[in-house]
Symmetry: D3
Subunit: 316 residues, 6 copies
């Protein structure tokens, strides 16, 4: 069973909208090696897991799989912010754009040359479950052979490829909003790469100097370097509410990435930051409320609500 | 940010394996109107949500979206159990099947006439992100127009269609494992149908006697009737760890389904039941460990682990 | 602009339901060489047609394209009839099936072993835009190169392949409902094959003895032989309401199929037969009306209606 | 059975070619909420319709479905015109472009940066059955649950989403060719939205002030405002040749869009405008005829043709 | 540049037709981890290869990629043989089936319950580029990250998964035709697994006891055991006509599978066996020749032919 | 069984990188009418071929199918060269780009506006099995009806469409690298068009003046004219190592393209040119080796290798 807090797993730095960067980030969200894929792959692997004796491995998959849901939330929100308000930013011929198409205006003109026209035509300046070339996310990508060693090798390759692609995205934009999330995911992908590499070490493989992949010189990516200094590539959270996870039996000892750190699984979750709700975009008819509907919304927002009894939290 | 407990949201009743029923249930997992779809649709709608004044609506989407992850876990696990051990159950020519293919045996012969041969050939008797006709889950299904009224109408239709299809699946099998989950989801789909119908009522629509859809005579489905007696169709949980959800401002008052109940959103989550790990399937080489690897696994399972510090739980 | 009459282009002979035959016929409806494909291909070719001097060729495409819409209607309705009531026919454990799932009954049990489980789970015993292997119809199949000779060669190949596949479907079932439609389409595909072959003859190609493809001995398929005796393989209708089509300039002269007939394009349309509305299927919740809704439907059906003024018909 | 007249359902205003606008319009043709989808969905719903008592509802679906074929023709032709001759318009380095690639010229250079390179590489400056992001039309989009209320809700949502997306396309271009068709379809989508909303009213739902969706201020879109003044959003044609449609029993009374009009279904069809055939595009080898072939074409165009006997028209 | 000899890379043992086994083998041909995929993946990796200093690695990919084309030929031909004549084998109501559908016969009746109806309806009892669930082969599966270590890990995983799935297919049928090819491919997949594992060893990874995956007890699969005794799992051919391949610099030394053998790359190619042409299938209209066409074919087959001059062979 | 030589089938002329041209060429590689399609279609047709008496036709398919593998190699390599180094060419802000992202640089910025962002994000400046609109290659395209005449007509249409599209690509770019390969393939497509047209002539069809399609005036494409002067459109190679091909019985006599040449099949293969390995691209982490790994690679490259014994070559 899953729970939520209204916090993002990492901060998204503010910057100008940038539809091109938003589209590049879609690969990290809905691409073949993106966060939706890792999330679904690890969750399916944990649902179908076999071998009661191998519980620490199941718990490792379950914990990382749960973290990936938060990554989907983070990168989805980042894309949404990069798109938000981009018509105005790009200098559309109407000013302001809060009267959609008034007098025949064309506030969404930039959509025709955007990375993905669907961001404006279909998704109302929001994130979509597609990759950077516009291909929808596909369930056939989820790999779960049932063979433990093979699943771990695939997962190691998957995280490394995800990190490789994010390093390339980093090199495509210097937008601070985009980079704050990309840098965070580069480092967390390495943590997961370490997790699967370490699990394979526990099954006998010796990686020597082959890891990490790619062999980035992280100090050259300033936003990444800052997070490595905090040791985020060597931590794994449990995201487990009742302390039953045994993932920490695997995620410990010297890092397979040979960076001199030790792996640590002693925190339940990062602190995160509060999430906020995006403003209206009139030119998209989103949320598309007129005065009558707004009044009804207002009435609902002011209603009383009965208190909620808690079984698994909140911590008070 | 998301969290997990090692409990299933509802109990799965034990029964014989049944690959045909497992395949029918795949529609409820990976189909166009299945749980992966609702989960992703509501999560994307909450990430991309616009209109700070409409927070209760965002929170309703977020809460139901979080519940759907647990539904994916529930139905995925159910399918896995329905498949687990089916070669032996169907009377394969080897007995036991714990020596894969020994002497040229064909323990997986039934796979050729199974609902989906991939359950045995690709997924090691586990669930897959595909529908009952074998089509992979597809991101183009996720609907998020940005227009609030339209998104709510779509969601109402989506839940109703999901419930309609599950009523049909109920009529395809009397396997108790399959039915325990299908019955639970029929009732929860109705709760979500009520949630979206109620949200539309708050925006002015009057449903009169049109709901619920389909107009099942629930007392004729015994497993469903039992859950309706408990009022599960009129409850909505928050799954929110820090009591910030305002979904309860919407989910209250008389049920739009006209069944005489009142909607209630006063519980954080159901209690759930512990989840267990499936046994090995030698004929699938899953997890495929030999004596050497088993020993290494055992060593890991016996390792010490550092305690985990908690920020968002566990409740102790 | 397009119009409709409430008549089917050919009679569908009554017989028992047969889900297996229904599924085989799906190839003729939603398959790569089925009627949806020919319909869309010829309509797109006529919308995008270039060369004002070549109007007879455009009109030939337009007329055949319009006929294909009626073929989609015919084969869709045939599939629907082959599925209709099949649960009862197969001896489901409940009798009657007009109380869906009463007492936990499983009236839709046969769905699990049907040709396509979606016929029962998704489509309520109706036709779907998919092929016989369950793949959805796909727009990438539509071929329209713009080059006239090439488009005509493709169309000739398309009709021949459609006819080849329908000859194979004929050999898969002796259900009279299925065969009445398959036989009709085999003969009409040959008429279209003749049309494109004749168009290529007008551009210089000499087919000699290569046609028809396949070289069926039609007298061995009794249902086909009857229609050949009527000369249906050598007629082309215009389906054109205002007599502007010049297709008849092409569709005349000796048949390229070398069967001794002459091509004739002197009729607007066949007479057709009235279409009827299918009965309710309670086990599918289709149309799913309860007493309240039925009463409202009845009230609507009894309403008065203003007369409709006609510009393009009806013939009175 | 279906018929055709060589007239477009609405006039296409002349303007410069505009490949970017052409590509945006593809969403309205081959997109998930475009005209091919509505056409196929309503036609399948009418083929598979259940409930002889509910004939007015079947006839409503059938009439709108038939209109959608004419919309496919209209928007397909519009896209074709927007693309036609665009190489010359964009100032390609050859002038004229009627000698394809002479001396190594690159008349199609603009294709590399067009909205969809396939418009020039595959489709010879014509329309394609794909969406604005290049995804082919897909049969899995067609929704037909068999449940009448549910199908009507889906159709209402479908028309509203189509209209929402077309409002956004309107805001992407001020090309008069594109806008003449987009404005017409915005208004006709609203007529269909009204039709399904009214059908649901007849089944008990009260929409109050929720419609139309989106709540456009139509007077701000001048091309749309003109058509609203003519009341086109409140008319429904039958497109039925023999006056058997009972759709008018539903489509009457005050508009659910609350615009003060009454719904009217008293016309068979709009008058339309004659369709014309596009000129040759040598740089595309379309139609690709040389002198020999032209002569053969000419001979065919001058042939005599036998008169066509009419059963269902023409009106003389 | 590529060449061909009219020989199959391994012998296909004769046995009865078996459409169910044919369909299971489709996974090995057109599945996500089948031979078309390995072939295309390694060929693309060799075309796009970077790093002139790493030629032995490029040559290894090129050699295995070339072998995979022969595997596609082998498994395609095997499927074709398993399907060939299956209508008669299953006891169809006509005997003989060489008069297609004579008198309304249904010789292809078994197609409706075959693993894939397309084998009979579309492919004339031949192999198709699809997987065992009927999904077409898809180019998005081809993995080529450009990062050498990552590509090698992926390839190792790919071969291991291919072998795992083929071990499962082995357990689904005891048809000797199917097993002769499956057993051969199980052993060759292990050779390729060894090749990629060895290449990674040369880059520092130490596999210890983790390989092979799966850890089959090969002596329990008699057809496999025979080939292991011949050492086929430890050989790699060059398939290189002019002795430029340096793959042998990698493929040498003790096998990473720990079976006591040494890797050897000292043969250009296996000897192979002659390939034969399948008989006609009248019920499929394949090849569909009548007396006239047969006479023309015969005339062609008897024609003289000029001698061919050879640059790269044949060895005379 | 297949073999390889380390030579390209035609020379690739050097020129500047050009990502836009690279993307246009993808249609010729991974498009519906590209080289991967022809390769797979002819190979499947030859595997599944029926009719021992028709061996010359099987051999014709086999020979052209084998040539197409070399075309895949040629166009894949061409795309790779067109992409190679393109960041530097476009004037990226870092110079040199051999330190990926140093100091936050954005060397891959151009990827956001490239024809296909995946060329830089996924494929490391290499070719992909997708078309020019980014759609992955799809197995459902492979046509093999089993009917010989029909398969030959399809193949004729396929080659003509391929050539038509390549003529359009020629008109999109004057990059010499792109054109050297496009011109070669235009001419070879015509040779294959001739082969299938000639095969149909041997079965009775008379093409008169209909061919070639398109009716290009080749002398206007200088790079093509040069190859026509060499008669490459009228030659067919066997690519057969042991002189068993009988394709020459068909491929002889006057060309169906009416260009005054005679068809000739008297050469085994063209001479070809040596292939080279591309340089490293640091900004792509491809191959991504650091000093440690480079040293290991070097050690491997310097190893001794045992000689290879040859059965089918090499020519020494």
């Amino acid at each position: 069973m899953f729970f939520h807090v209204q916090r993002l797993i990492n901060e998204i730095v503010a910057d100008e909208p940038d539809p091109g960067a938003a589209n590049a980030l879609q690969e990290g969200l809905g691409g073949q090696f993106g966060e939706m894929r890792t999330m679904m792959q690890y969750l399916f692997q944990s649902f179908n897991f076999r071998g009661p004796d191998a519980k620490p491995y199941r718990d490792l998959l379950q914990g990382i799989g749960t973290e990936e849901i938060s990554h989907v939330e983070l990168i989805g929100t980042t894309i949404s912010r990069l798109l938000d308000g981009s018509p105005r930013y790009q200098g559309s011929p109407t000013d302001p754009v809060d009267t959609p198409g008034a007098g025949g205006a064309i506030p969404l003109e930039l959509a025709k040359s955007a990375g993905n026209i669907h961001h404006f035509l279909v998704a109302a300046q929001g994130a979509m479950p597609v990759d950077a070339a516009g291909n929808p996310w596909n369930g056939s990508w989820v790999y779960n052979s049932g063979n433990l060693v093979l699943d771990l090798i695939y997962n190691l390759m998957l995280e490394s490829t995800g990190r490789l692609q994010k390093c390339r995205i980093y090199e495509m934009t210097d937008n601070a909003t985009a980079r704050s999330t990309i840098a965070y995911l580069i480092v967390r992908d390495q943590a997961h790469e370490n997790a699967y590499a370490r699990a394979l070490e526990s099954l006998g493989v010796n990686w020597r100097t082959a890891l990490p992949i790619p062999k980035t010189n992280a100090e050259q990516f300033p936003e990444v370097a800052r997070l490595l200094d905090l040791g985020l590539q060597s931590k794994q959270y449990t995201f487990d509410l009742t302390a039953q996870s045994e993932a920490g039996k695997i995620f410990q000892g010297p890092s397979p990435s040979n960076d001199g750190t030790n792996l640590m699984a002693t925190e339940q979750a990062p602190e995160g930051v509060p999430s906020v709700i995006a403003p209206e975009r009139f030119e998209e008819f989103s949320p598309g409320l007129d005065a009558d509907l707004l009044e009804l919304i207002q009435a609902t927002a002011e209603m009383e609500m009965e208190p909620v009894s808690s079984s698994f939290g909140p911590v008070t």
